[in-house]
């Protein structure tokens, strides 16, 4: 969920009134926002870098507000204020207009070289805009928020904004070899080739995250004006030449990307938000984009769409009884201008270009419910009559775990993900023999645990590593690790777990399946094979499986296994199939799990007993 940071006093001035923190929190909650934090620049810096660095930083109160991930129109102060003012019926939602300029229209020509790397571009002009420091900061911040969210860290869309008065159209969006691109990038006073820039930005904390998008491509995207001035090399950096400042009057906006729909949405959001500061409020000057096929498109689209929703549908889906007129009023408060038409049950809803999140009637219904107030809706119980059933495997698991605990064993709960070493090397097996599934983006997690050592009143830190590469194929390693972490507990330790393991299985749609296993271990000064064997006998008794090899019975037969001490391992057969093994663990296994005492264990698949 994106968080927007706004200056409280600026926000209240724009809202035309002040709120207490509690009142504003309440308003946010009602509207679906969350007042996440009340802070200041000074507080943020002092928290992150210490009090000294914070010296002299601004202590203007900031509200950090969490905005739903699909509401791009609320990602800046301008949008938040507009949304809340319309919600509170203090203003009417503005009508956004696209106009053709009196003179020449700005043109952006896309060449076919862009097709393989970043094929789409859209553009628009904000004419006679009046920035202030705060407005300018908000304009930059909105681009950053869009980049991080809908633009998927510039992979799908990248925005460039330019001082139009420093440029001369028409513009060309093309792709060139990195060595052929040379320009002075934003905030540098020297020209660099694209290759050099990519190197320089490898150490740039902000830009390094975007390099991968084009890094290994033969051609890099680039936009020129008619004099060969580089506007930008999307999605990395703009040129310094056309940099906008607080004094910029006319802004040329280009959005390039791999997702045409999202590029259009991003452009619409920027121009609807900031045309507020244009001489002709909420009016945007069109730009023409010529696609490689010669087709001419005019942007921004600023498309208004009409949807028809029946009032009774809204009432039925929300569970309220409001008149169509009231529902239209509620929707209008959500920036969805609505009126009752036709038979008096139809509501015509106008979806403005700011509300790209409205793609279905259900989105309109939600807005009606928000404006009505979720907490004003009457709670009722559905009359749905159903008979409950347990999932048979879980039912069996629940019954077994109760009785195994009653037999004196304590239940453990271990991780399903672990390292290759845990399920193979440490058990004396080769990983290929385990049929384990493998994670393609394994996690190396470092746990930093700070421990205050009282005796020396100093801080010492312990780092432990955890590698998540595979899903477990046996429950045994988890139980042995649980014992290792509890070596201080009085002996004997008797543990069990009933949970799922995962094995590759090409007969399943995804190529793998779970098996429900039961594993128990006995850890003491003596191996206690008879105790583990006794537990198996008890489990079979519970499952109503008689001893003996006859059909339906169970028996154990001498066997071997890499995890077991030679001659101390048996395979368990029940209901005519092998269900697992029991035995005394091999000293090497015990040592590898950092244990010191003998240990016996049993592990079976319980699915044959369903």
């Amino acid at each position: 969920m994106p968080t927007v940071s706004v200056k409280r006093d600026l926000l209240f001035r724009a809202l035309g009134r002040t709120y207490t923190d509690e009142e504003f929190d309440e308003l946010c909650f009602e509207f679906g926002l969350e007042l996440d934090e009340i802070t200041s620049e000074k507080e943020i810096i002092s928290k992150e870098q210490g009090n000294e660095k914070a010296h002299g930083a601004s202590d203007v109160v900031l509200y950090k507000i969490d905005v739903p991930a699909n509401r791009y129109d609320l990602l800046c102060l301008e949008g938040l204020v507009r949304g809340l003012q319309v919600f509170k019926e203090r203003i009417k939602t503005p009508m956004y207009k696209r106009v053709m300029p009196k003179g020449e229209v700005q043109k952006l020509i896309i060449t076919e070289e862009t097709a393989k790397i970043r094929p789409y571009a859209v553009a628009a002009v904000l004419r006679n805009i009046k920035f202030t420091k705060d407005r300018y900061d908000s304009f930059i911040e909105l681009q950053e928020k869009l980049h991080q969210n809908i633009c998927r860290k510039r992979a799908l869309v990248a925005i460039g904004t330019h001082d139009l008065d420093t440029l001369s159209g028409p513009f060309t969006y093309t792709a060139k070899k990195p060595s052929d691109i040379k320009f002075k990038p934003l905030n540098k006073n020297k020209e660099y080739t694209a290759c050099e820039l990519m190197n320089i930005y490898k150490t740039d904390n902000q830009l390094k995250h975007y390099l991968h998008i084009i890094e290994n491509k033969p051609l890099y995207p680039v936009i020129y004006d008619s004099n060969g001035v580089v506007l930008s090399m999307p999605p990395i950096i703009n040129g310094n030449h056309s940099k906008i400042t607080v004094n910029t009057k006319n802004v040329f906006i280009e959005c390039t990307g791999t997702d045409f729909t999202k590029a259009k949405i991003v452009l619409d959001v920027i121009v609807t938000m900031f045309s507020e500061y244009c001489e002709n409020q909420f009016t945007v000057e069109a730009a023409e984009v010529v696609f490689p096929n010669g087709k001419l498109h005019t942007f921004p689209e600023l498309a208004y769409r009409k949807e028809m929703v029946r009032a009774d549908l809204i009432n039925k889906k929300v569970g309220i009884r409001e008149t169509p007129e009231n529902l239209a009023k509620l929707l209008t408060r959500m920036c969805l201008k609505s009126e009752v038409i036709g038979d008096g049950n139809q509501i015509e809803v106008e979806i403005p270009p700011t509300r790209a999140d409205i793609i279905h009637a259900c989105d309109i219904i939600e807005d009606a419910a928000i404006a009505y107030g979720y907490n004003n809706i009457q709670m009722t119980l559905p009359k749905t009559y159903t008979i409950a059933n347990q999932f048979p495997l879980n039912k069996l698991t629940e019954l077994l775990r109760q009785d195994i605990a009653a037999a004196g064993f304590t239940e453990a709960l271990t991780f399903a993900l672990c390292s290759q070493e845990d399920i193979a090397d440490k058990l004396g097996m080769d990983i290929s023999a385990t049929k384990a599934i493998h994670i393609s983006n394994p996690k190396t997690a470092e746990f930093q645990c700070l421990r205050i050592c009282v005796l020396f009143s100093s801080l010492s830190s312990a780092v432990s590593h955890l590698l998540l590469q595979v899903a477990r194929t046996t429950l045994l390693p988890g139980l042995l690790k649980t014992i290792a972490a509890n070596r201080k507990m009085p002996l004997p330790l008797k543990l069990f777990e009933i949970s799922d393991i995962v094995i590759k299985d090409s007969s399943r749609d995804v190529g793998a399946r779970n098996y429900r296993h039961l594993c128990a271990v006995y850890y003491n000064k003596n191996p206690g094979f008879e105790i583990i064997h006794g537990l198996l006998d008890r489990i079979m008794q519970l499952l109503d499986v008689p001893p003996g090899e006859k059909k339906g019975g169970y028996a154990i037969k001498a066997s071997e296994g890499s995890a077991f001490f030679p001659g101390r391992c048996a395979e368990i057969f029940a209901r005519g199939q092998s269900i697992g093994k029991l035995g005394v663990l091999h000293p090497d296994v015990i040592t590898k799990f950092e244990l010191t005492m003998p240990c016996s264990c049993v592990e079976i698949n319980i699915e044959p007993f369903l």
């Binding site: 799908l156 929300v318 279905h360 259900c362 709670m379 996690k443 998540l468 988890g478 190529g511």
Partner: protein, 508 residues
């Protein structure tokens, strides 16, 4: 034995004593070990109010074995001095004496003796003075006579350093008459025996009182894991509410069922490597329900069922990518798809509680795997009011009654609402779950009838458990680093019963 001779003597002395008596003094008088008297005191104590005792401790200096020897025989240096005749003694001979080594160097530094290295038969030791005062012996004798206080602190510590003195703490009892004082005590029985029952002798015997303030002996037993105890309670609640359990025994899921079927677009951030564990082997799901897949593809890329769609190039390869399921909603999607294939439609209530996996930053409250609880109701004409009503009943069973609902965004529900409850301990509203009505773009491609709505909600199992049991670090609850003592000690899980002690409340 309470009626042992020492105990009897103690009681008789106590009868005539003025106020009380000291256990150590009694031991000295009787000529027995102090420990014997202490034993008698303890056995009398066990009989109830016969005597009253007060534990006193005093410090005393005692001679060590070596100190005892020196007090008797003289210090090593004095003994060395005395063993040297006027004509001197060869050093090698002197060193062979028992006190030779220690005594020689001390006597040298006291300037009592001298060594003549030029003597014919090797170094020879001679007296320097005619007589010596054995100060060490005198001091030790003082201590032995109980007059250690006559020595200065420095002198005592010097003797202690030479390991001739030790300071011992003596614990003695000051014994006085108790409220039930009596000199005649009969032997008390500790326990009832089968013989006493059969002979009836229990009628005439006094029994030793029990100490009810002592702890009992905990039974040897196995224990269930606290998180899974909570899981059992949640299952129970769902079953009480008539919900059927969905199969969730498939940790591996295709991106299709985990995301695409839920109308979660292929560029959604949750589908990023940073958030989801994808599989290298088996990397792809081979079998997908292709008819349904095509409907899903169309809905994403072009819209349909009244939707604008997301208007992007939907890729089958992306949908085939296997992953570790990031939510149990993948299982709900499969269950709803199966429900949609049954004609005619029958209403259903489903639930599941199982593991999910996220490639998250790990900290005190986040692990790469956790348990998700999910409830789903599918029926004709369900409303947001119904969702809230079901949530109210569900949370009431958890002991949570103060609820409010906040508009929220989920990719696959619309309307969506976060559920907040008022936390008495934190004095604020905290999020306890997420909920909504599944989007038509998810349900209609499955083949569910248009007027069927599906309401759903979810929460994590770990969070309420951590609050319930007052656990601040999730690693103490889940995984092999669990503290087994915590498992042994954890109480029953009664979610609707009174909340735990105040410390429990801080955990949230």
């Amino acid at each position: 034995m309470a009626d042992g001779p020492v105990a009897e003597v103690l009681l008789r002395r106590l009868e005539t004593a003025d106020g009380g008596l000291d256990s150590a003094e009694l031991a000295t008088e009787l000529g027995v070990e102090h420990q014997t008297v202490v034993g008698a005191v303890k056995s009398l104590q066990a009989l109830g109010e016969i005597i009253e005792t007060e534990l006193r401790s005093s410090k005393r200096w005692e001679l060590t074995a070596e100190g005892e020897e020196i007090a008797q025989e003289g210090s090593h240096e004095a003994r060395v001095f005395r063993s040297i005749p006027p004509e001197g003694l060869p050093q090698s001979e002197l060193m062979r004496l028992p006190s030779g080594k220690v005594g020689f160097s001390k006597a040298m530094s006291n300037k009592w003796i001298r060594v003549d290295k030029s003597a014919a038969d090797g170094p020879r030791v001679f007296r320097v003075v005619d007589s010596v005062e054995d100060e060490v012996q005198r001091r030790l004798q003082l201590v032995r006579g109980g007059q250690a206080e006559k020595l200065g602190e420095k002198e005592r510590s010097e003797l202690r350093k030479r390991k001739l003195l030790t300071e011992v703490t003596l614990k003695t009892y000051w014994v006085s008459k108790g409220s039930a004082f009596s000199t005649s005590i009969s032997k008390q029985e500790t326990e009832l025996s089968p013989e006493m029952i059969s002979s009836g002798s229990w009628r005439d015997r006094p029994f030793k009182p029990y100490n009810f303030s002592a702890h009992g002996v905990l039974p040897d037993s196995g224990h269930l894991h606290p998180l899974l105890k909570v899981r059992s309670q949640f299952r129970q609640i769902f079953l009480e509410m008539g919900f059927t359990e969905m199969p969730t025994d498939n940790y591996i899921e295709s991106s299709f069922w985990n995301f695409d079927a839920l109308f979660q677009p292929q560029q959604h951030p949750a589908r990023d490597q940073h958030d989801t564990f994808f599989l290298r082997d088996p990397a792809q799901a081979q079998q997908l329900p292709m008819d349904y897949v095509h409907r899903v593809k169309r809905t994403h890329s072009q819209g349909g069922y009244g939707s604008q769609g997301y208007k992007y190039n939907w890729k089958l390869d992306e949908a085939r990518k296997n992953l570790l399921r990031t939510h149990t909603t993948a299982a709900s999607a499969r269950a709803l798809y199966r429900l949609a294939q049954k004609k005619p439609f029958t209403p259903a209530k489903y639930f599941s509680i199982d593991r999910v996996f996220r490639n998250e930053t790990l900290d005190a409250t986040h692990l790469a795997e956790f348990h998700q609880i999910e409830g789903v109701v599918a029926d004709h004409g369900l409303t947001l009011g119904h969702l809230m009503g079901v949530l109210r009943e569900f949370f009431t069973k958890l002991g949570i009654t103060q609820l409010r609902f906040k508009p929220a965004y989920n990719p696959y529900t619309e309307p969506s609402m976060e559920v907040f409850s008022y936390h008495q301990g934190l004095k604020k509203w905290v999020e306890v779950g997420n909920s909504g009505i599944f989007r038509p773009e998810m349900l209609l491609p499955m083949g569910l009838p248009e007027n069927v709505s599906v309401i759903a909600w979810g929460l994590s199992l770990e969070r309420p458990t951590m609050i319930k049991y007052g656990i601040n670090n999730i690693r103490e609850l889940v995984g092999h680093k669990v503290n087994l003592q915590m498992v042994y000690d954890s109480p029953l899980c009664r979610l609707d019963a009174e909340r735990g002690p105040p410390s429990t409340q801080e955990a949230a």
